[in-house]
């Protein structure tokens, strides 16, 4: 590859000056602009899904029906789940990959700049479909984010809108993934071999492969739902010879890898951050890479653990149970390596590091409750109780969301050119940490005591813990408004200009370019010495 051709293709696409105003964003092809769009979109969706979560928690503050009809309550939980997963967490990771990958691997832009624009602009219509569906006759989809038939076959047109929305979201993810894979595989700076890439590049690469493998499967499943609904096919309709359990198999064949699509990029982020604030290279880089790949492969073989309660031959239960427990091994390797990286390092606790450590601690809690649920006979007891709700929020909120906060604080100086206010960042962390636990920890007890999920009303003995959880949720939500003003404050100048490398231990390539990162970087790839310097981050020079 010559840098000449590289330059050439780039000229055709993006070298003309950025247009002003809205056109800059509508026609954006620059990876940084698109990354910014993704991140803001994800934030808006996070707030939207969050408001829905508060709607749920308000209803559950006391037993009895206070605010919503049960149907609307179901629509709230369903949309909350879909919006958080597909609208907030996944686009936020894609946005980060867009912003940071070219910078970190020394590429001038993503491989397909125009397709990148498309993959972003499919998202707002998809979100609009979901929101509009609240106002159509019959209301939004109310069968849970898993869309299980027969309910999803019988319900009204809100379900059709959700299905179309999922089609658009899936298409966007697939295009985004093609872009990420091609960029990482073909456009690394000379000298950066695969086993020398920053881990965030690795996890983004593996995640993108997972998405290409499973997003089409989900698209297929919802298409089958759609044709069962309107075109008289009988994939899942028992009356016509189909089987609703088949949907569950197909859904979770997508759904379990999806969980890792939301977890692997988080692993990548904390693997960048922890070494920097420990002032030590990442411990066990190569084992981290292997662990990432093994988790990805295993994730395809464990979907059945979501279906223990459906009725399954004992051998199949054992198969899924043991494979699920096996995933704990590579995950344990990762946790061990993060701790070993911190061990005897010169740690400092700036906000990104706090969120990263918070991630490691809480994700481990979520991992353990997951391990408990993986035991088939236990799961038949806990299935669809609040224990499950507690488990997956420890993984998704403390895992995906906290790692995203860590990433935002870590790279904010690079994005805006200004330092954020450290005190406010720390306040945001501690506030989120405390109220997160107040919200979700009691849910373990509720689940163990037998409170089912997805219900608007509950038995009296569950009152106290529900009240605590609801108070926690509202306080947690309040803290995220604080986060918003934190970011705005930084964009407006923060506590002053940021140097190109604000973190003492920051070695990776993005810290070699000025802050804020100029519109065009690495038009000529970084020289070998620079690349080599960047590799100190994982001690593989």
């Amino acid at each position: 590859m010559s840098s000449d051709t590289l330059h050439h293709t780039d000229h055709g696409l993006a070298t003309h000056h950025p247009q002003g105003g809205w056109q800059r964003w509508l026609y954006a092809t620059n990876h940084k602009d698109i990354g910014t769009l993704y991140l803001w979109f994800a934030f808006v969706m996070f707030i939207t899904g969050g408001v829905m979560a508060l709607g749920i928690r308000a209803e559950l503050f006391q037993p009895g029906l206070q605010y919503w009809q049960p149907e609307f309550f179901n629509q709230l939980t369903t949309l909350h789940g879909i919006i958080m997963v597909f609208g907030a967490i996944m686009p936020a990771f894609t946005g980060l990959a867009n912003w940071m990958l070219p910078l970190m691997i020394g590429a001038p832009d993503m491989a397909f700049a125009r397709m990148n624009n498309w993959s972003f602009w499919l998202l707002p219509p998809a979100a609009a479909l979901l929101i509009i569906s609240l106002f159509v006759p019959g209301g939004a989809a109310g069968g849970g984010w898993t869309l299980y038939p027969p309910l999803s076959i019988q319900s009204g047109m809100g379900m059709d809108l959700a299905i179309f929305s999922i089609h658009l979201l899936g298409l966007s993810s697939i295009m985004g993934s093609i872009n990420i894979i091609t960029t990482v595989l073909n456009m690394r700076a000379p000298g950066m071999t695969l086993l020398k890439m920053p881990l965030f590049a690795w996890t983004s690469l593996v995640t993108a492969y997972l998405l290409i493998a499973v997003a089409p499967v989900l698209a297929g499943a919802v298409t089958m739902l759609l044709t069962d609904r309107h075109f008289d096919t009988h994939f899942f309709k028992a009356a016509g010879g189909g089987d609703p359990v088949l949907f569950q198999h197909i859904f979770w064949f997508f759904g379990h890898p999806e969980v890792y699509i939301m977890a692997l990029p988080a692993f990548g982020i904390v693997s960048q951050i922890i070494p920097v604030f420990s002032r030590k290279p990442l411990f066990g880089y190569v084992s981290m890479v292997y662990a990432t790949c093994s988790i990805a492969i295993l994730s395809f073989m464990v979907w059945g653990h979501h279906m223990f309660a459906v009725g399954m031959p004992a051998t199949a239960q054992l198969f899924f149970m043991f494979l699920t427990m096996l995933i704990a091994v590579p995950t344990g390797v990762k946790v061990f390596n993060w701790i070993a990286t911190m061990w005897q390092g010169s740690l400092t606790f700036e906000t990104p590091m706090l969120f990263a450590i918070g991630f490691v601690c809480l994700f481990t809690v979520g991992g353990f409750s997951g391990l408990i649920l993986s035991i088939a006979p236990v799961d038949t007891q806990m299935h669809d109780t609040y224990y499950v709700v507690a488990h997956f929020h420890y993984v998704l909120v403390a895992g995906a969301l906290f790692s995203l906060f860590a990433a935002v604080y870590y790279w904010l100086p690079k994005w805006t050119g200004y330092m954020y206010h450290e005190g406010r960042g720390k306040f945001h962390f501690w506030w989120s940490m405390i109220w997160f636990n107040v919200t979700f920890f009691p849910m373990h007890f509720l689940g163990l005591a037998g409170m089912p999920r997805r219900i608007p009303d509950y038995a009296l003995q569950f009152t106290d813990f529900n009240a605590i959880a609801s108070v926690g949720a509202f306080c947690f939500g309040l803290g995220q408004i604080f986060f918003f003003f934190n970011v705005i404050h930084t964009i407006r100048g923060g506590v002053g200009p940021a140097p190109s490398s604000p973190w003492e231990g920051g070695n990776t390539l993005e810290w070699e370019v000025p802050s804020p990162a100029p519109h065009h970087t690495w038009e000529t790839p970084p020289d070998l010495a620079t690349v080599q310097r960047g590799l100190r981050a994982q001690a593989v020079e």
Binding site: M1, T5, S177, I178, T182, N186, G220, A238, L246, I250
Partner: protein, 167 residues
């Protein structure tokens, strides 16, 4: 040497093909699932369950008393009984020892309410069975189903336990 743009395009096409194949794989899971259920004898949702409420789901359970060198296996583990219909179900018996065996199958059923609904016309449990060394034999049970089935009944289980007959 091909240019970067060309290499990128090639890779994008390859990845898009993978995505398309995976879309097809989603659909392929449908016939695969049916095949798996058949091959493993796993009970699938049946149209008859949803079509008529006046149907009774019959499940067949088999056991062998300890120390008896024989096996028994229900060949049709689940059947739907229609009101007024006849249900025929098959079992495979095998003597796993080198000696002739004298056996008797002890029937039982649950729930008790099913008692009046099913009448045994023919059953291998009516008689003593003699199985030669290593003999395998298919045996049947024929049931007459009552003309009226209560809607709330749902399912009944019929169980057969092989016991040795004292010689």
């Amino acid at each position: 040497m091909t240019s970067l743009a060309q290499r990128n395009q090639k890779m994008a096409i390859k990845l898009a093909v993978i995505a398309l194949l995976m879309f097809g794989f989603g659909y392929a899971l449908s016939p695969l699932y049916v095949a798996f259920c058949k091959a493993l004898g796993i009970d699938q949702a049946q149209a008859s369950i949803t079509q008529s409420s006046a149907a009774l789901r019959l499940e067949f359970d088999t056991n062998v008393a300890s120390g008896v060198a024989a096996t028994i296996q229900a060949l049709d583990t689940v059947q739907m009984a229609q009101a007024g219909g006849i249900v025929k179900t098959r079992f495979l018996l095998a003597n796993t020892s080198d000696q002739p065996l004298k056996l008797r199958a002890i029937p039982s059923f649950a729930p008790v309410r099913a008692a009046g609904l099913l009448q045994k016309l023919e059953c291998f449990c009516f008689d003593e069975l003699v199985l030669q060394a290593n003999e395998r034999r298919e045996v049947t049970v024929v049931l007459l189903v009552a003309d009226q089935l209560p809607a709330e009944m749902g399912a009944a289980t019929l169980s057969y336990s092989l016991q040795a007959v004292a010689q």
